[in-house]
Subunit: 241 residues, 2 copies
């Protein structure tokens, strides 16, 4: 999975094994992005890639299931890179940058992404579920690394993991509601939700409170977090209520 | 699905068709609660229910798949009743009461619940996924009915739906971490999370803000919500940070 998919070259150039494999996976990814797995056939993949069906089988003897898993692993690798953003500066900005990558992926892989996360398709198995779980876990690990909490408490881990689920659920709802909300509003809402979940948890958990104090020092004064806090406090004081 | 499962009666009493069906479903539910679907056989169900294998097949000619779906529908019916709590009084108390029902169910159906929500098991299909989705949608509808917002805005709907996902994810994590956190702490954390998500959203959405103002009037002065707001404001003011 290490080589990046390449666009099909002119017919006279012979693709290397890795290039051909990458091309077939990229073609499959594009098809799975537009249709649910049930509606994608190996013939479609062969036609779209401009190769013969036997050639697809030579690379993927396990047929559609194997090709689907390969496409999924490739997507998972891409998703895991979402939060590989710069590790310095305000956390809220890093979070927003990671979400921008993630949401662009969701935007691009709509149908396939929905089918996969909703499960129940003919090609879902324990293995595909495990791949999706790997992405979730990797996302949680990356977020925690950005937070630089050496020993996250149980409540802090719970916040991070449930926030990942919130991101996933919000993406599915966004696709389901035909991408009505502008992506940057969805991103800001997700950042706000994470901060809110942390703040509420900090009220009962010392590790989370310590993390928030440390993180606040890197936020821009009067910036996104300060404005969020202002709005939120206004909502919670009797005059605002 | 209308009759409740009954415990197996003494051998000399003939169960009615509905009673027998209910007994087999209850037996299957109990087995699926202790083991992943792959590890439950029709023989296990027959043995546990004290009946013959052919008798199980007479009621469920589709075999394990059909029995699994029946058990699932029965669980779904039960889950949908969770938020059928009194429709008066403070919302935070009603939410807590609904969560108590839900978490008791999770506690009781541990393994089966995990297998189902994680998907990828041999018995998951589009149909079982649809049943789980039905429960999610029903939960969102019930929560919105309690909130008495005639026309919920898109952000308010998003909060309710993603909170349902948070509840689900937190339950899975709770099971995964071997029920370490006391259930009432998990419940309180989930109530707090919902309020926090609403407050943050209210800062950008008028419908949510109006709802919060209306709901605040039914909360006990100095009660759970006031205390949550106090703690939260303290976390967000420079002195608290």
């Amino acid at each position: 999975m290490s080589s990046r998919p390449v666009p099909p070259g002119p017919a006279y150039r012979r693709l290397s094994v890795e290039e051909r494999r990458g091309q077939l996976i990229a073609t499959a990814q594009a098809l799975f992005a537009r249709s649910v797995p049930e509606e994608v056939s190996l013939d479609d993949v062969a036609r779209e890639a401009g190769v013969s069906r036997p050639l697809v089988y030579r690379y993927f003897p396990g047929g559609k299931q194997q090709l689907y898993e390969a496409a999924l692993i490739s997507s998972a690798d891409e998703l895991e890179l979402c939060f590989a953003v710069t590790e310095s500066g305000a956390l809220s900005l890093r979070l927003a940058a990671g979400l921008d990558h993630y949401l662009a992926f969701v935007d691009q892989h709509g149908e396939g992404f929905t089918a996969l996360l909703k499960g129940g398709s003919v090609v879902e198995t324990n293995r595909t579920t495990a791949i999706v779980d790997r992405v979730r876990r990797a996302a949680a690990t990356q977020v925690l690394r950005h937070m630089r909490v050496p020993e996250p408490s149980a409540p802090l881990r719970l916040v991070v993991r449930t926030w990942i689920t919130t991101v996933e659920a919000a993406s599915l709802i966004w696709l389901d509601e035909e991408k009505e909300l502008p992506l940057d509003e969805l991103r800001d809402w997700l950042v706000d939700q994470f901060v809110a979940q942390l703040v509420v948890t900090a009220g009962r958990d010392k590790t989370t409170a310590r993390f928030l104090r440390a993180a606040a020092e890197f936020e821009e004064p009067g910036g996104r977090i300060d404005r969020l806090f202002e709005r939120t406090i206004a909502m919670m004081t009797p005059a605002g209520m």
